[in-house]
């Protein structure tokens, strides 16, 4: 045999493949202990597969298994030996094999984005504490703006102090999970994520409120709320996943998307389905803001009356049409 071949073994449930050098042919693979390569795969026969060489030096593959057989690509191998195309994949049981030349080029190494365990700025505790102070300051400022009676600084500080516990407790909880999974608390990172979550929540509320007033529509506000929540939640969730594990950024994002978006879709569908057919109170638009910025123009009285008249006429007509299209027997109480 002129040069050795490389055998790539991909076992199910293993992240990375294993490699074996084939120095000499024939080379037999199976579960039995007299093989050249012994596989622990229970779906592999005692003697399953053999690589051979004919007189011309061509490498052949021969299926020895009567039980589960061997697939070359998508085709099942017969009892005769066949020429083996290099780098074609062979499936035996749950194991996939590939035969490669030693000079097959490999892709260049990728640069790691973040080495797990290394501390970036976000993961340092001082940065997290800074965020915590920011959150506290914002809360205090809002309390001061919303004050009803006279409010001293001391009272404002004291009233908001318990609010600080929420991100700290959340960070402790996620940190504990990280400790279980990674044997590492990473408290700084957890606190950063928790603080950013709370800040994002406060900002999102303010933003959605303004959108709602600006467009005089709860529908727009709800939609932007949903999209905003989905995006921010996905980002934070992906980040948290990465903090828990050694997942790459792309995989973490994939998992977060796959979990959070179907969940949100479910919530949305449930809302749609659970809305009762008959709502005894009108669905008014009730947001009022001191900063009176809005998309709708202010109408004079005649135009106002004309526009609402038209819209109400249309709405009432729609209601009555729906009522007529509803099954008639639903309207009549049943006679016992």
């Amino acid at each position: 045999m002129a040069e050795p071949l490389i055998l790539e073994i991909i076992s199910r449930g293993r992240g990375q493949p294993q490699y074996r050098r084939i120095e000499q042919l024939p080379f037999r693979i199976g579960r039995g202990y007299d093989n050249d390569l012994i596989l622990a795969d229970a779906t592999v026969s005692a003697a399953h597969l053999q690589f051979e060489q004919d007189d011309a030096g061509t490498v052949l593959v021969r299926n020895l298994s009567n039980e589960n057989g061997t697939r070359l690509g998508k085709r099942k191998l017969g009892p005769e030996a066949e020429p083996l195309p290099l780098s074609a994949s062979l499936q035996i049981g749950h194991t996939v094999l590939r035969v490669l030349r030693p000079d097959t080029p490999v892709p260049p190494a990728i640069r790691p984005h973040a080495v797990p365990g290394a501390l970036t700025l976000f993961e340092r505790l001082p940065f997290a504490l800074l965020l915590l102070v920011l959150l506290f300051t914002v809360n205090c400022a809002l309390t001061f703006l919303h004050r009803i009676g006279p409010l001293t600084l001391r009272e404002a500080l004291f009233s908001q102090a318990p609010q600080l516990l929420a991100p700290i407790l959340l960070a402790l909880m996620t940190g504990f999970i990280a400790r279980l999974l990674l044997h590492h608390w990473r408290f700084g990172l957890q606190l950063t994520i928790a603080c950013i979550s709370f800040i994002a929540l406060a900002l999102a509320q303010e933003l959605v409120y303004r959108i709602s007033y600006y467009s005089s529509s709860d529908v727009v506000a709800e939609l932007s709320n949903l999209l905003l929540a989905a995006t921010v939640f996905t980002a934070l969730f992906a980040w948290q996943l990465r903090a828990f594990s050694n997942l790459t950024r792309r995989r973490a994002l994939g998992v977060a998307l796959a979990i959070s978006w179907p969940l949100l879709a479910l919530v949305w569908i449930q809302n749609e389905v659970r809305t009762p057919d008959f709502i005894p109170q009108p669905d008014m638009h009730l947001v009022l803001l001191a900063s009176d910025r809005r998309a709708a123009e202010t109408l004079d009285l005649p135009r106002f009356l004309r526009e609402i008249r038209d819209e109400l006429d249309e709405g009432i007509e729609r209601e009555l049409r729906q009522d007529r299209s509803a099954p008639a027997d639903a309207q009549q109480p049943r006679t016992p």
Binding site: D283, L286, L288, Q331
Partner: protein, 434 residues
């Protein structure tokens, strides 16, 4: 806040669960000896022509509710209240009507005509029931009246009392009767000493304050039915719809015709009572340390509504103004409180068999130079075409520490009439610069 639709005159419907509780209250004033004789004579003369009207459910053949009726117009016709027989009118496949005499005889009844606005119904029996009552005129204040009926479903009773004229603030004419009217007496006659019917028992406000439908409306109903030869109405639902429609036209036309007094509300001058039949109440909350804003409130409403069914009341009207003002609050804090008050609920027990869903329109509008955010909503009635429930909520915007809310609730009006009243009200808002 918003629509104060609660009637101060609860209906006389008999609910059997309350019977015992009410019985325990006991004690009736002992009438004087002279009234005693008149009452005894009237009772003897009329006991054969006053009947118990029962609404029977076929499932158990038991009564579901009851009232009183008396012979009027022709010897086989009974007059009663619409609210006594409403169930049988709306769902004749579930409820039927029966009369029962003081001697215990029974027989079926059929509704042939109604006056839903004045809560009257004419019922036809299959055999003569007695001598028709004579109809009297509006009695003077202080006239002694004798009201007949089955209080709480008990045996026929006669209750002496006195007439106290028409109610001033009622949207629909009612005689104020001072005497003990109880549930079950609904639809019974109130007689003067000569035995003429001057009113039909309709409602009570407790403590010897009762209300009667003036006999002129009964007269009109009987004449209307007599004109078509006492034929039953072809379609009672359409008749009720037509009456509600005509009633709201008349009522709203009367409102817009009148000259409205104005009232001061913060920096706005707004309409006061738009009709003498409307009653306004006011309240002022001065700023305190805990609640550092002034709140001035006026609440105007018609003290009356039309009974259509257990769930549906029609013909109610109310409008409210709220003024908020603060010197100390930050604009953000003020608007937070202002926004909490920016809401309105439509008081109604109507369900999806009565009405459709509300449809709302949101706009910003300039009224007297000030900008308002306006929610205007309406929902259609399913059985009575053309009628809607109409409600409006306006909130002044653009002032950092001043706010004003305006609500208008109308039940069973046409959209046209609702919009016209809204326009008339808004046109009379006047902003006053300080």
């Amino acid at each position: 806040m918003a629509g104060n639709h609660e009637s101060r005159t609860p209906r006389l419907r008999t609910v059997w669960s309350t019977l015992l509780a009410l019985l325990l209250l006991g004690g009736m004033p002992r009438p004087s000896a002279a009234a005693d004789d008149v009452a005894r004579a009237l009772y003897d003369a009329h006991k054969q022509s006053v009947y118990r009207v029962e609404v029977i459910t076929p499932g158990t053949d038991k009564k579901n509710s009851l009232g009183t009726g008396f012979v009027i117009g022709r010897d086989d016709l009974l007059a009663s209240n619409f609210h006594v027989v409403a169930d049988a009118v709306h769902t004749p496949e579930v409820y039927r009507l029966e009369w029962q005499s003081v001697t215990g005889e029974r027989g079926p009844l059929k509704v042939i005509a109604v006056d839903v606005v004045h809560d009257l119904a004419l019922l036809q029996a299959e055999r003569p029931l007695g001598v028709p009552h004579r109809i009297g005129t509006l009695p003077d204040k202080g006239t002694a009246l004798y009201s007949l009926g089955h209080p709480l479903g008990l045996d026929l009773a006669i209750v002496p009392g006195s007439a106290n004229g028409l109610l001033e603030k009622a949207l629909y004419d009612k005689i104020h009767f001072t005497g003990n009217i109880n549930p079950g007496m609904s639809g019974g006659p109130s007689l003067d000493a000569e035995g003429r019917v001057v009113g039909v028992n309709v409602a009570t406000a407790g403590e010897a304050v009762g209300f009667l439908v003036p006999a002129q409306y009964l007269q009109a109903l009987v004449e209307r039915v007599a004109a078509r030869g006492f034929e039953p109405a072809a379609d009672l639902t359409a008749e009720i719809g037509g009456q509600l429609l005509a009633n709201q036209h008349e009522l709203l036309a009367e409102f817009t015709r009148g000259v409205w007094p104005t009232q001061q509300l913060g920096r706005f001058q707004v309409p006061g009572e738009i009709s003498p039949r409307i009653d306004c109440w006011g309240e002022t909350d001065l700023a305190t340390e805990k609640k550092p804003y002034v709140e001035i409130e006026t609440n105007c409403s018609g003290q009356d509504e039309v009974y259509v069914s257990k769930r549906l009341s029609a013909g109610s009207i109310s409008y409210q103004f709220f003024w908020f003002e603060s010197d100390t609050l930050t604009p953000r804090a003020f608007y937070r409180l202002y926004q909490q008050r920016h809401n309105s609920r439509f008081l109604s027990r109507a369900d999806e068999t009565d009405v459709g869903n509300f449809t709302c329109s949101v706009r910003f509008v300039t009224v007297s130079g000030q900008s308002f955010k306006a929610n205007v909503c309406a929902r259609p009635y399913k059985r009575y075409p053309g009628l809607v429930d109409f409600m409006v909520l306006l909130a002044m915007t653009g002032h950092e520490r001043e706010g004003m809310l305006f609500t208008l609730d109308l039940s069973s009006v046409t959209l046209d009439n609702g919009m016209q009243l809204l326009q008339a009200l808004l046109e009379r808002f006047t902003w006053q610069n300080r």
